[in-house]
Every structure is written in C-alpha cells, then in structure tokens.
C-alpha cells in the first residue's frame, strides 16, 4: 500500500501535501493533482488518506508482497470524534470497525501559560508542570537518595 490518487476525485487542494510525514505527496505540475512521488518511502500511515476532503486517496498493497484485490478504506470524522474502517479481503470478505478518536472538542486544550506561574521554590524542586496533583498519589513525587545507586553490581 503505497498510496495513490484517483484522477477524477482529486481537486489539487494540497491537504495531503501539507500533512505527509514523509514529504512524498506532491502536486503534479501537469495535472495539478496530488501524486505519490516516492512510493518506496511510504509507511502506509494513512495520514494523507485521512486528510483528503475528496476521499481521493487510496492505498494498494506493496507490489513486492501484497497480491491485488484487497482494500482498507478509512473515514475519519473529527467532528463526530470517530474513525471508521472497512477491510476488504482478496476473497471478498469484509470486516468493519469503528473507534473513538477524541473525547473533547478540538482546540480546547489550554496553554500551560494559563496555569498559575511557578514559584522560585518550584524551579528548584524536581516537580514538573501539574505535579504533584496530576500524579494522583499521596506523598508527593517519588524520589531516591544518592546512596541507593550502587556502582557495578552485576
């Protein structure tokens, strides 16, 4: 499955170009549509497939080990907070799966700058942001003493 792009569906919007972690989705200069320029550097991560507003991108199993006739299709719906998969085998069998992807609204994570600012003592302690509260334990951040580390014991 390197990815490929259907000519009649792609409108050249470039979402896939923007998201591809491997920088292999580019806009073809002649057709002004997206193209996978380097299939052998595709991880099949589906980032471009999920990002395509036209559902124009699909994947076809790597030619060196995947026989034809299969498909793994995905529909990611961030507003609904779900992702849906349809796995189709070469022999025609199908399996469908739906999973949640997020439990909160997109864009709602606060910046750490909204927390109360740390005190001078906080800088000297070993605690990180949100600690010790976010550890959900009593007794504060666990610690060792230097004498607990002993050299060279096998």
């Amino acid at each position: 499955m390197p990815t490929f792009v259907y000519m009649t569906r792609c409108d050249g919007c470039g979402h896939c170009v923007d998201i591809c972690p491997s920088d292999i989705m580019h806009i073809d200069k002649t057709y002004r549509r997206a193209i996978n320029i380097e299939p052998n550097m595709c991880w099949e991560c589906y980032s471009c497939v999920k990002a395509c507003p036209q559902n124009a991108i699909d994947a076809r199993g790597y030619a060196d080990f995947a026989p034809l006739g299969h498909s793994v299709r995905v529909l990611r719906e961030p507003e609904k907070g779900t992702i849906s998969w349809k796995v189709k085998f070469r022999n025609g069998h199908e399996k469908n799966f739906v999973s949640p992807i997020r439990t909160t609204d997109w864009g709602t994570i606060p910046s750490p700058a909204e927390l109360p600012p740390p005190s001078e003592d906080d800088f000297k302690s070993q605690e990180l942001a949100h600690e010790p509260d976010a550890l959900n334990i009593k007794g504060g951040l666990p610690a060792l003493t230097p004498d607990q580390l002993k050299k060279g014991v096998v």
Partner: protein, 614 residues
C-alpha cells in the same frame, strides 16, 4: 560563490529551540512554556507536527504507565524491568526519573481528550500487560500536537535541521541550529540560548527485508532518519550504547505489533510443526549468557535468539497461534483494531493474502536492525542525570544536558533509557525543558553568539547537492547514472548494504566480527567521501540527501561501538562471532564515544553502571 549562495536567509531568535516535533519535542515545547512564561519557545519540525514522528499514524497502547494511583507499579519496578530486558545495562537514574513522572503525562493526555480503555470491573485503565495500557489512539499525535502549538511561541513546519551551531565566545557551548525550508528552499539560522534535540532515531541504516516498492514498510518510520544522533555527534557530544541496535519479532511483511497479541489476547508462538520451541534453545542460550536466561520476563533479545536458532534449524516458519483467541469476537476486534490504530500496513497485508487470523495462524519474522532510544533498546547521547540523586559520574550540570553546554535531549536522542516509549519520551521532553529553562535563568546576560563564518559555510554545504546535480546533469543525456554525482537513494542503498553485510544485518543472521567491522568502516569511509558528491534534483531530494548524511553519521557510530564492545551482550540483536559470550567481568559497563569533526577520529571509552540496590 555557489549557484545557490543568493538563497534567502532567515534568522530566528529564541530562548529555547526544540528540534523535532514528535512526542519528545511536543512534551518539551509544552513544559518549556510552563516554566518559561516570558521566554520565546520555538519548535522546528521537518514535516508537520500534526502528524510527525513515530506516533504519526497513532498508537493502540501506551507502553509506559506505572499506575501509581492504584499501587500497580512503582518507579523502581520499572527500572528493574528495563534493566533486566537490556541484560543489565541501563541508566537507572534516568529511567527512574522518567518512571516517577510519566503518570502525570498520561493523566493529562486523558484530560485533553485521548480515549482510554477502562477495565469494566475495576474502572482502572485497561491493562494490556504489566506496563501497557490500551487506548483508542488514532489521534494521539494530533492531541499532543495541539497542546504543543498552544504552548509554543512559533512552530516551524517543513524545515529540515541539518547542523547545530556552536557559540563563538565559549568552547563547547551550543548556540543554535541551521536548516532549510523544504518547500521554499530558504535557509534558516536559529539562534538560541538552549537547544533540545528531540529528533528521531534511525530506520534505513540496515538493508530492510522488503525490496522495491515495499522498502518503506520498515518497522520504525522511514522518516526517522537518525537526526537524533547525527546532530549531537557532529558537535562532539558523547554517545552511549550505540551498539545496542534492536531487532523486532513481528508479523511478517507488515511488521504489525505483537504486544497486544501476546499480553492481552494470550496468543503464543509455535514452529512449522506446531511445537513450542523456546525451551529447545534454553541450554544453548544459557551457554552464551549464563543466568540472564533465567530472568523474568525473558529478555527480548533472548526470545529473538530462540526464534532465530529455530529458523536456522529449518523448522520455520514460526507462527502466532491466533485461531483460538480469535473465536472470541471481542478479541478478534481488538486484534484488528490494534493494527488499524498503529500499523495499518499489517491489515493490508492480511487482507491481500487472505489471512484471517480466525482461520489461519499468521507468520512472524525478525526485522532488520534499528537504532533508537525509546523501545526495548537504548542508543543515544550520554546525558547528565537528575540533580536529587544521580551519582557524581552521571552529573555535570542540568538534567538531560549532554556533554555539550546548553545542549539537551529527549526521546530517541537520550541513551541508556530503554522502555520509555511514547509516554516516556514525552515525559523526558518535559524533564529536559524544565532543566533548559533553569539553564537559561542561570545564564544571565552571558548569551551565546553564532559566528557568521560558521553559518555561511554551512549554508554553502547544505545546498551543495543541488549544485552538484545542476552541474553534473548537463554532462549526461538523462537517466540516473552520472559519473559526477550519486543520488540520495543510491547512497542510501549502498549504506544499507554495507551495514547489512559487515555490521550484522539480516543477510548474516545479525553476525559480525572485528575483520568484518574493520572492512565495514573502510567502506563507510569511502561512502562518506562520495557523499560530498550527492546530487539533489529538487528540495525534496535535498531533504533525502541530508537524511542520508545523518544516517551515515549514526552508522559510523554504531560500527565503532560494535567494534569496541568485545562481547555478545544481546544475542538476538547481534552477535560478535569472535566474542560469542556475554562477559560481565570486562563489559558490565556502558560504552561511550566522541567524534572529533576536525580530525574525523572517534574516541571510545567505558563508563560505569550504577544499579538501584534491591
């Protein structure tokens, strides 16, 4: 003056510069804002932080979570586990530090919207294994990236950082980094008071099993191009355990993960004749490593060893017995969603080959080796430990600072800290960022300065592959064969072949020895010379050119370290044919290396291992 010397240069000044926006980089960016309210915090990433790094396609489990709130595990337990799995050699001070903080990171992920699975009876996070919890993590990376974007002053996507910059006023102090924009071709000079390297480990330094179109289906992401190592190595930072490459036992061809299958679904392996085989190799393994074979759980490398011996004995393929577990519809769903959530390629392989694990027990394989610092392996930079308890030999300044002043690291970059995975890498980024802010606070007005000569000469170097191509291309009618330049893919395949044949890749069943390593180093040396003649047709190829340079630098390091350690510490990861046994008398220690870019020489030394007494 080169053809590209008129390329525009941008200057970006910051207090904290985070290189790489994966899990570790996002953790560092977030935490830097908490401690540095008025500081300028810049994150630079060669792709797009929304989907970058090893977690780009999602994860179905968080593999490092203590569960201290339910008294499931304590940090000491995780240290013992990682030490045991790495055959005795981990930086226990650093590992403990990650383990004591990691739960707070995971709790924030849940609060931010990451869907966690819960045990219906206890209400706790659903355990896959002792350390792993199960998540619906398709959007793990977008969620973490959202928090980082909120915290950063600026995020620069699509900039490939090629080199670090050193201070012109003080020896051995970092001052920033340079790189280029892979879309516009503009040159970037980042000047910073502290730099956190949070880049990726190394795929594609060894020849992969898949060929042709499938070569991108490596276990670790093809965009993990060893910048984690090349950037610090180049400026003389000491590295540790670079010989400790990892080999993964995974589902064949897709490298789909086996963790949930073993731990949660309770599937198991058997040879081609339906026989259990690990016990067959017990005495053989014991002869190599002694009592380490009796430890629980059995170290990952030793399980690989049994797998490899069974294959060599002609009783392959090894299969995962899934038919029993997959009769349970819930387990079947977990098995499939596990792949769809983090290794979609495995689902494609099974769909294409009509492998339904309910009816067929799928084949397993062992991967080509990878060099990274966050899974069951711990290559990376030698870093200063936590101030409150690290022994003197592990402490020379600020937590997670390398042996270069002001240069911090996290995730794949930092060595000695196996089993940190996504959550531990994120947490290590947080630890490094707090230390970096403290470093800046203590610095006062004595800020580092970059030298114009330095960045101008680097600029020329960075764009040289474009120039090589433009000039050389005129000599030939067309095609890929030039007497004057080599293309990045050609150089990459030569690198992979050298590492495979001389430094213990799949072609030799992970076997090497001193004569092979010596010859490997000679061939890496000529490849290094030839990479002066890399030809890049466009900016995309220029990115590939610099990824290759980074991979080569890491490969040299791996080869020197492998030569230095005269024992076979991790059979199943690699073998020294001339020193087949584990040797605790001479080698119960870390290996350290330092590269001198002026002479091109590598210096190797040993460093002591400290254990938590228990």
């Amino acid at each position: 003056m080169g053809l590209f010397s008129r390329t525009k240069t941008h200057f970006v000044d910051s207090d904290v510069l985070v290189i790489g926006g994966g899990m570790a980089g996002c953790g560092a960016t977030y935490e830097a804002r908490h401690w540095g309210r008025d500081l300028k915090i810049v994150c630079v990433e060669k792709a797009n932080i929304e989907r970058s790094g090893a977690v780009a396609q999602g994860l179905y489990a968080i593999n490092c979570y203590m569960g201290m709130q339910w008294d499931e595990n304590q940090p000491e337990d995780h240290v013992r586990y990682a030490r045991n799995d790495l055959m005795g050699l981990v930086r226990e001070d650093l590992g403990y530090d990650i383990a004591r903080h990691v739960d707070s990171s995971v709790h924030k992920f849940e609060e931010w919207g990451l869907p966690m699975m819960r045990d219906p009876e206890t209400g706790r996070y659903l355990r896959e294994g002792k350390w792993q919890i199960m998540i619906h993590g398709e959007s793990y990376k977008p969620i973490v990236a959202e928090a980082a974007r909120k915290a950063a002053t600026e995020v620069y996507n699509r900039i490939m950082v090629t080199h670090l910059l050193m201070d012109k006023t003080k020896e051995n102090r970092v001052a920033g980094a340079v790189g280029f924009n892979v879309r516009t071709g503009d040159f970037y000079v980042f000047r910073a008071k502290a730099v956190i390297v949070a880049a990726g480990g190394a795929s594609h330094i060894y020849k992969p099993r898949a060929v042709g179109e499938g070569m991108g289906r490596t276990w670790y992401a093809p965009w993990s191009s060893a910048s984690a190592y090349a950037l610090p190595i180049e400026v003389g930072a000491k590295m540790t355990q670079m010989e400790n490459r990892i080999v993964l036992t995974r589902f064949k061809d897709g490298y789909g993960p086996v963790g949930a299958y073993f731990l949660h679904l309770k599937t198991y392996t058997e040879n081609a004749y339906g026989e259990e085989y690990e016990s067959t190799w017990y005495e053989n393994t014991k002869a190599l490593v002694g009592d380490y074979v009796d430890r629980h759980p059995v170290p990952t490398c030793l399980r690989n060893h049994a797998f490899l011996e069974e294959m060599k004995a002609g009783r392959g393929p090894i299969r995962m017995v899934t038919k029993e577990a997959f009769q349970d519809p819930h387990k079947e769903t977990v098995g499939w969603e596990n792949f769809l959530g983090m290794t979609i390629g495995q689902a494609v392989v099974w769909a294409s080959q009509d492998i339904d694990p309910k009816h067929t027990n799928p084949e397993l394989t062992t991967s080509e080796p990878y060099v990274m610092g966050s899974h069951a392996t711990c290559s990376g930079a030698w870093a200063s430990g936590p101030e409150d308890y690290a022994p003197d030999e592990y402490q020379w300044g600020y937590n997670r600072m390398m042996t270069v002043d002001g240069l911090f690291g996290a995730g794949d970059t930092i060595g000695g800290t196996a089993h940190k995975f996504s959550s531990g890498s994120y947490t290590e980024g947080r630890i490094a960022a707090k230390a970096a802010v403290n470093y800046i606070k203590d610095m006062g007005k004595d800020a580092p300065q970059v030298s114009e000569d330095d960045y101008q000469s680097l600029k020329k170097k960075v764009f040289k592959p474009l120039e090589n191509y433009e000039i050389g291309r005129n000599e030939i009618v067309g095609g890929t064969v030039s007497p004057s330049y080599i293309l990045p893919i050609q150089g990459l395949q030569r690198l992979e072949k050298i590492m495979d044949e001389y430094v213990g890749g799949i072609g030799s069943h992970y076997m090497t020895n001193e004569p092979l390593l010596t010859r490997g180093l000679e061939l890496l040396g000529t490849l290094k010379e030839d990479l002066e003649h890399l030809g890049a047709e466009d900016l995309h190829q220029l990115q590939r050119a610099w990824e290759l340079q980074h991979r080569l630098r890491a490969s040299e390091s791996v080869t020197h370290h492998t030569m230095f350690r005269k024992e076979t510490r991790w059979p199943g990861y690699y073998y020294r044919g001339d020193h087949m046994k584990l040797d605790d008398n001479d080698w119960h220690c870390f290996t350290l290396s330092q590269y001198d870019k002026n002479t091109g020489e590598w210096e190797l030394e040993k460093a002591p291992v400290y254990h938590i007494v228990d």
